[in-house]
């Protein structure tokens, strides 16, 4: 199968297992985000793909060929580091041309390619500047252009946008995604920012504790999380324990949720309901009985905190559907059965 395949990849540092039996397949030309909290093994996994660390066991294949033991410099990669790692003694143009120079490509051809890349990253005429004189966003672009100079077989980015301020980061996310689509290059990005992952990726790979918890398109990750960790890590969610009564109906906090059947064989577990899928109504009538404890009006959205049976639930609504409630008021909370996700406990 073309593209990148990881088979049972494991990395141990002493007795600590950083990456634990990871299987992953990245088809050619797709954009994958490795997402997880710090220390989840995502950076180690990327370093193994780059060849900067060798797996303790398992195999890595690129376009069918086993590259597990191939040294980094023979993998034809492009990688953007978190620190960017621009060479301080070289100019912008020389930085971009580095991989071409190493491969012995002629000066004239180097210049042509550098000009091409400079215009791709909208930095025409910056070729002769020292890299120290650039702004954060410009340095970011130069690092990207340098990694793409040879048209690499794999484009790897390790927390590439973390040094930029929020606005610039959002703009660069869009730009990076468009660039990837335009070049059709297989791209893997390590990030801890779920918004970034959702914006750019074809496939989001959520990792925790060295394992892949779920690998799926962004919408599926959000709408159908595989477990409580993924549900909680991606966006915000209400996680509530449930039990199943004798008729097979789901019971949450002492109230039966109408229209939601538990999968056969499941006696209890955790239910994930996104804040926008909680409906505030009048108390009674089959809704969960609760009391409003706090209102957070953010202008764009309104978050209502409701205490139900000792648990805090959050409902989000748009301003035009602002719930007419005040703090301390008893309300009913209705879970939309089609939006509830039953998770393995």
């Amino acid at each position: 199968m073309p593209g990148l395949t990881l088979e049972n990849v494991t990395k141990q540092f002493g007795s600590f297992t950083a990456v634990d039996k990871v299987d992953l397949s990245v088809p050619h030309g797709t954009f994958v985000c490795l997402l997880g909290p710090s220390g989840c093994g995502k950076t180690t996994l990327m370093r193994m793909i780059a060849g900067l660390d060798l797996p303790t066991s398992g195999g890595i294949r690129l376009d069918g060929a086993d590259i597990t033991q191939v040294p980094t410099h023979k993998r034809d990669l492009g990688m953007v580091f978190q620190s960017l790692a621009l060479f301080p003694h070289l100019t912008v143009g020389e930085n971009i041309a580095y991989s071409l120079r190493i491969r012995g490509i002629g000066k004239e051809e180097q210049r042509k390619r550098v000009d091409e890349l400079l215009s791709m990253i909208h930095l025409q005429g910056f070729g002769d500047r020292p890299v120290g004189k650039l702004s954060g966003g410009q340095r970011q672009r130069v690092a990207i252009a340098r990694a793409l100079a040879i048209s690499p077989r794999l484009f790897l980015l390790d927390e590439p946008l973390s040094a930029l301020d929020a606005k610039l980061r959002e703009a660069m996310q869009v730009e990076l995604r468009q660039l990837q689509q335009q070049l059709g290059i297989t791209t893997i990005v390590v990030t801890h920012d779920q918004r970034e992952a959702m914006t750019m990726a074809d496939t989001v790979v959520v990792m925790n504790g060295g394992r892949i918890r779920q690998a799926a398109p962004p919408v599926d990750i959000y709408r159908r999380p595989a477990d409580a960790f993924v549900a909680d890590f991606i966006g915000s969610t209400n996680l509530v324990d449930f039990t199943v009564d004798s008729a097979g109906r789901v019971v949450v906090l002492g109230t039966t949720v109408e229209g939601l059947a538990a999968p056969t064989g499941v006696a209890s577990g955790v239910l994930s309901v996104r804040p926008e899928d909680l409906e505030l109504t009048a108390p009674g009538n089959g809704a969960l009985a609760g009391v409003v404890t706090f209102l957070r009006d953010l202008g764009g959205t309104v978050e209502t905190f409701v205490e139900v049976g000792g648990r805090q639930l959050v409902a989000v609504s748009m301003p035009h559907a602002r719930p007419d409630v005040t703090v301390g008021q008893p309300v009913g909370v209705r879970l939309r059965p089609e939006a509830c996700v039953v998770l393995k406990s």
């Binding site: 780059a50 060849g51 900067l52 040294p71 980094t72 410099h73 023979k74 993998r75 034809d76 990669l77 492009g78 990688m79 580091f81 978190q82 620190s83 790692a85 060479f87 301080p88 003694h89 070289l90 580095y98 991989s99 190493i102 491969r103 340098r146 990694a147 100079a149 040879i150 790897l156």
Partner: protein, 284 residues
């Protein structure tokens, strides 16, 4: 952090002590030496105050020119050997575990605690025919009979590199520890082998540090006068040896002073040239 320049005279107070020390122990002796270099030698006694250029004139001969040339050549050779050895060594050292680093640095510091005399005699024993390292080579079957390796230029160079290497490593160490390790990794992902990455990224990125280290070791080596005498032949004697000889054994203080002043001038000129060349290289 940016601090205000001193406003009042009293703000310069903290500078009084170092300035005083510098004047008493450096400016005054150096000025005295410059003055003495123009004095006339008195063969019967010491010297008489005068203003003559005889001492400098005497210096401008082929013999002293050769000695000066050799001194500079030796110092440059020591500087280059030290930097060539120390840069890769320190680079690798900076990437080892903390404990290993400390162990090596302590070992290097202990070499620094040795006096030049001990180093000289230790190496002269190691290079001797009767007790030297060639006996080891004979035992290993690498040589047929033990030979004396000193006095020779190689012996002088080896001992001086040995003496200057710890300084070189200690000067390079902070810069190499601070060097971002992802620079090398980036070079590797871009297609450079580890060796190529070292020469195309680490060495150029450390250009100024390496240049400064070269100058420091060069000046350090220029002052060496014991090792050339212990391990070298008379043709390996440096200008520092002749200065000592004139000052102490010939009692010709004015001539010794003139040679010392001349050596300082030549050294300053060489350092200025190196810095100038470095700046120019940077701008290009």
């Amino acid at each position: 952090m940016r601090r205000e320049p001193p406003q009042k005279l009293a703000d310069y107070g903290p500078l009084v002590f170092p300035a005083g020390m510098l004047i008493v122990f450096f400016v005054v002796p150096f000025a005295t030496m410059i003055a003495v270099s123009f004095f006339r030698r008195d063969p019967a006694g010491f010297y008489t105050p005068d203003f003559v250029f005889d001492n400098y004139a005497r210096f401008l001969s082929l013999f002293f020119g050769k000695v000066l040339g050799f001194s500079l050549f030796l110092a440059i050779a020591v500087a280059i050997c030290c930097v060539v050895l120390a840069v890769p060594f320190t680079y690798l050292l900076a990437r080892t575990r903390r404990k290993t680093q400390v162990l090596w640095l302590v070992a290097l510091l202990s070499v620094l605690s040795l006096s030049e005399v001990i180093i000289g005699f230790a190496w002269s024993t190691l290079f001797s025919r009767t007790a030297g390292i060639t006996n080891l080579f004979v035992a290993l079957g690498l040589m047929s009979e033990a030979v004396a390796l000193n006095p020779s230029f190689g012996a002088v160079l080896t001992a001086m590199v040995y003496q200057a290497l710890p300084y070189t490593v200690l000067v390079l160490y902070p810069a190499l520890v601070r060097l971002d390790p992802t620079l090398t990794e980036a070079a590797r992902t871009l297609g450079a082998s580890p060796l190529r990455a070292f020469f195309t990224v680490v060495v150029p990125a450390l250009r100024n540090t390496i240049l400064a280290t070269l100058i420091m070791v060069f000046i350090f080596a220029l002052g060496s006068y014991l090792l050339p005498q212990i391990l070298g032949r008379p043709q390996h004697w440096t200008l520092s040896v002749l200065i000592t000889d004139q000052a102490i054994y010939q009692s010709n203080m004015p001539f010794a002073a003139a040679m010392a002043v001349f050596l300082v001038l030549v050294t300053l000129a060489l350092v200025a040239l190196t810095v100038y060349a470095g700046r120019k290289g940077e701008a290009a």
